[in-house]
């Protein structure tokens, strides 16, 4: 579990802070790479732009993706991840405030693996992150990653 890198795509620094805190609370010691908008996330994933050369922890094992992002929206990021051969099978969990049906449907139809609405209650949030980590990083078996 510790070797796995988690890509957190979140523009709100409070939410980043709280999410990281939740990871810590759950003793998830994974490397967490934070992308502040869709462009950063894509750069990180596809080694382009501002993040070129900054691939400290290797390819992520899980992407936690907010939908409401500056520059490139979460859904667009998701679409690109699914369109690229390298990231086609990468688990992506939508982690957002919205519970709009439209967002849900579009996320799943773009190939999201999970959709989690961030609870306002921080205790509940910690619990949600815990379950998320247990499931996606421990229980879930992923197909062998291509050597890139």
């Amino acid at each position: 579990m510790a070797g796995d890198v988690i890509l957190l795509v979140e523009d709100n620094p409070d939410d980043v802070e709280l999410t990281l805190r939740a990871f810590k609370k759950n003793n998830m010691l994974n490397d967490v790479v934070v992308a502040r908008d869709g462009v950063e996330a894509l750069d990180y994933l596809f080694d382009a732009g501002a993040c070129e050369g900054r691939h400290p922890a290797g390819a992520p094992s899980l992407v936690l993706l907010d939908l409401n992002l500056p520059k490139v929206g979460g859904l667009e990021v998701l679409r690109r991840i699914r369109a690229d051969e390298r990231t086609r099978l990468l688990p992506v969990v939508i982690l957002t405030s919205s519970k709009e049906e439209r967002d849900l449907v579009e996320s799943y139809s773009h190939g999201a693996n999970s959709y989690i609405r961030k609870p306002v209650d921080f205790v509940e949030f910690i619990e949600a992150v815990r379950q998320l980590g247990v499931y996606w990083l421990l229980l879930n078996e992923v197909p062998p990653t291509k050597v890139s």
């Binding site: 709280l18 306002v120 921080f122």
Partner: protein
């Protein structure tokens, strides 16, 4: 009236008589003629017979004389012998005497003397029986019979005629010779030839015009035609000295021919007379009968005419009154009685100008007596027509009469009376008044409604129109009109339309209804609504008629409405666009709320929690409690945001209808609620079979709210019961959720469904107060309605319908 059937029958039977009678007469006359013919035949036969008798008589006498002459010579011989007795004459004397006798007449074959029966003297000797034979020895019985007769009589006995021994037809006379003392001495005998006797009598051939025959006493015919005796001949008995010859004759042509004389004339005359008389009789009879029939026919006709006249008079709805020159009414029919309102008796006792009539003019004013029709006819002798006046009945009713009167004239032209016909035109007058009133009404109505009528003849094109139609055209109603004139008020497409419509009405018999623009005679543009209907007679359109209405004002109003509608449409479009924009904004707003309002809340809550955890030692209990309050407030705000969002979501979302089993859905929701609060002991009752056509997700929200409420408000109730069911009322299915919980006061019922309004404090029962608002929103979006019943402490019941396609089994 006599029965026409029986009299006709009599006529028919009497008509058969003349021919019968004529034929009868002819038969009688022919019978008489036949009788006359028979009688004439008899007469003629008698005459022929007497003619035959007359013609034959000389021959009969001739024959008698011829025979008697010869036998007279036998008598002489008898005397000659008698005187020579007793010795007898001697041969010589006898011969001389005999020669003298035979010379006297022709046909004396032999003269013989036979003393004692023995032939002694025979002259001439030649050719006769030689002397010596005894007569009594003759073997012929008739000879012996003759001898006996001769001995008995003493006179001449004649035998024959027969074939003589000497040959030829002859006869023999014998006489006994006695002595003076009367002793038989012998016989004298003379043999005669018959033909010379007949020749002497002229009978050697048939007398002229006769057929004759002669026979002896024994019926042997020895001369003439033996058939004569079979033809009822005229017969003479010859007076011979001994025996009787009969001589008979018939006319040479037979009796029938002889008696036929006069028949032709008789029959000719008779038949002519018969025909003439019968014809005469027939003509006489038929003439008489024709006369009789004519008389009868004329009588019948007269009777019928008289009857007809009487019936016509009696049944005529026209009153008929006959007045004498004295002014007295002599006759009035039933209609007249009815019109005049009087019994027959009293009518006939009145004069025409009796004041009791109460004659008035048509409008009820006085009517001068000398103007009465009868008075005028009596005064002038000329007929009077259609004088109208009224008669007032005793009961005050008034009748209006139309009276015609004409004089009755005798052959010399003198007036003998007046016949008056009375027509009760009260109804007619009333009808006319009504008609006038209706016409006026129609005219006024037409004017008020600006509707007129028109009509034109399809053959001539000539037309008529009502005042209003003319007025709409700005023409004088008296102006002449017609199709061409009518059409001249239109131009352009309107002209084309009306022309085509009229052509189709005339040719195909189809009606039309058009709204057209016309230019009136005054140059005003007007809109008119015209309806045309063909009038079809015998399959041909003979007229077209219809209505004509000025709809200019309506058209203007319509135009105004159209303009307004256009404006309105534009406005609606604008508003719709605005609304859509607002909606879009609202959507964006909601989205933003759900994201952006919740993120700070999460931060507030998260960092409060971080404070509590990381700085636990630095905070006293009050600080910790304050932080918990911060967290609780954030949680409540998140709840409010969620509710707000779902309310807005419900309003925007489009309905996805399907058949939803509400009972099943209720069970599902109850299961969830129980799962959330496993410690609750609540009895739930769900009636199965509540089915409705609805949006499943939305109805689920409704049930979540209502059932959630029911569980919530029974939290403090012992033996809590929550029930879901449905019932039918006024054709609608009401679903309900009922509980026996806290209930509510009905006076606050209005607040129940308002968002964020609560009847209970949050401490008492948690909640945002938006649940029922959502319920109402969802139900309203389904076209249904919500109502509720409740009482504090005794529970609440919420009813709702889902009208849009609700159903339900029972």
């Amino acid at each position: 009236m006599s029965d026409p059937g029986s009299s006709g029958g009599e006529r028919r039977s009497s008509r058969a008589t003349p021919i019968g009678l004529a034929l009868g007469l002819a038969v009688i006359l022919l019978l008489a003629l036949g009788y006359s013919s028979v009688w004439l035949t008899g007469l003629e036969r008698d005459r022929a017979r007497s003619r035959v008798t007359q013609n034959l008589a000389p021959y009969v006498n001739g024959l008698t004389a011829s025979v008697n002459t010869r036998f007279a010579m036998l008598a002489v011989l008898h005397e000659f012998v008698t005187v020579s007795l007793p010795e007898g004459p001697g041969q010589a004397r006898f011969d001389a005497f005999a020669a003298g006798l035979t010379a006297r007449a022709r046909g004396i074959r032999a003269v013989q003397v036979a003393p004692g029966g023995v032939f002694t003297f025979v002259y001439p000797a030649a050719g006769n029986i030689p002397p010596g034979r005894n007569l009594f020895d003759d073997e012929r019985p008739e000879v012996q019979a003759d001898l006996t007769r001769a001995l008995e009589s003493g006179g001449i006995i004649i035998s024959g005629p027969y074939e003589l021994t000497q040959g030829g037809l002859g006869m023999v006379g014998r006489q006994v010779v006695r002595t003076s003392d009367g002793e038989f001495w012998g016989f004298v005998i003379m043999v005669l030839d018959i033909p010379p006797i007949l020749t002497d009598a002229g009978l050697d051939s048939a007398p002229e015009g006769l057929h004759f025959a002669v026979r002896d006493g024994e019926g042997r015919v020895f001369a003439g035609d033996p058939g004569v005796f079979d033809e009822s001949p005229v017969v003479f008995a010859n007076a011979l000295p001994d025996g009787a010859w009969e001589i008979a004759a018939v006319p040479a042509g037979g009796w029938a021919a002889a008696s036929r004389a006069g028949q032709a004339a008789l029959w000719a005359a008779g038949v002519v007379i018969t025909l003439a008389l019968s014809l005469l009789l027939f003509l006489l009879l038929t003439h008489r009968q024709r006369l009789a029939e004519e008389v009868e026919a004329q009588t019948t006709q007269l009777r019928e005419q008289s009857g007809l006249f009487q019936r016509v008079t009696e049944t005529s709805p026209v009153g008929i009154v006959v007045t004498g020159v004295d002014g007295l009414i002599s006759m009035a029919n039933a209609a007249a009685e009815d019109i005049l309102g009087l019994e027959r008796d009293s009518v006939s006792r009145r004069t025409y100008d009796d004041p009791a009539w109460r004659v008035v003019d048509v409008s009820g004013g006085p009517f001068p007596t000398e103007e009465l029709p009868v008075a005028r006819v009596l005064a002038t002798g000329a007929p009077v027509l259609d004088v109208q006046h009224g008669i007032e009945w005793p009961d005050g009713r008034r009748r209006i009469l139309s009276v015609n009167a004409a004089p009755l004239l005798d052959p010399s032209g003198e007036i003998t009376g007046v016949v008056t016909s009375l027509l009760d035109i009260t109804q007619h007058e009333l009808a006319e008044q009504t008609l006038r009133a209706q016409e006026e009404l129609l005219r006024d109505m037409g004017r008020a409604a600006m509707v007129g009528g028109w009509e034109f003849d399809t053959t001539t094109g000539a037309g008529t129109w009502t005042e209003e139609t003319a007025r709409i055209h700005d023409l004088d109603p008296a102006d002449e009109t017609g199709v061409e004139r009518g059409l001249s008020f239109y131009d352009g497409e309107h002209r084309t339309k009306i022309e085509q419509a009229i052509a189709r009405a005339v040719e195909e018999g189809t009606g039309y209804e058009l709204e057209l623009e016309m230019v009136s005679a005054a140059g005003t543009r007007k809109w008119v609504h015209t309806i045309g209907r063909p009038v079809i007679e015998d399959g041909k359109v003979v007229r077209v008629r219809g209505s004509f209405q000025d709809i200019t004002r309506r058209k203007q109003a319509e135009e105004q409405i159209r303009t307004m509608n256009r404006t309105l449409e534009l406005r609606v479009q604008q508003r719709t666009q605005d609304l859509e924009a607002v909606n879009r904004e609202l959507e964006a707003f909601s989205y933003s709320v759900s994201h952006d309002l919740r993120a700070p809340l999460r931060a507030i809550d998260g960092f409060s929690q971080a404070l509590l955890e990381d700085y636990e030692g630095a905070l006293d209990e009050t600080g910790k409690d304050l932080l918990r309050r911060v967290r609780a407030a954030a949680a409540r705000m998140a709840e409010l945001i969620d509710d707000l969002l779902s309310l807005s979501f419900l309003s925007r979302r489009s309905l996805d209808l399907s058949d939803v089993d509400l009972s099943h859905l209720a069970e599902e929701v109850i299961g969830e609620v129980r799962h959330r609060e496993p410690e609750r002991q609540v009895l739930t009752i769900v009636t199965p079979g509540a089915v409705a056509r609805a949006d499943r997700a939305l109805v689920r929200v409704v049930l979540e709210n209502l059932l959630g409420n029911a569980f919530k408000f029974t939290a403090r109730t012992d033996e809590a019961v929550v029930e879901f069911g449905f019932e039918k009322s006024k054709g609608k299915v009401w679903f309900f959720v009922r509980d026996n919980g806290a209930g509510f006061d009905m006076k606050y019922v209005d607040k129940l469904f308002t968002a964020f309004q609560r009847l209970h404090s949050t401490e008492e029962f948690e909640g945002t107060g938006i649940g029922l608002a959502i319920v109402q929103r969802v139900v309203a979006r389904h076209g249904g309605s919500v109502r509720c019943e409740g009482e504090p402490g005794r529970g609440a019941a919420f009813y709702f319908t889902l009208d849009r396609g609700e159903s339900g089994d029972g």
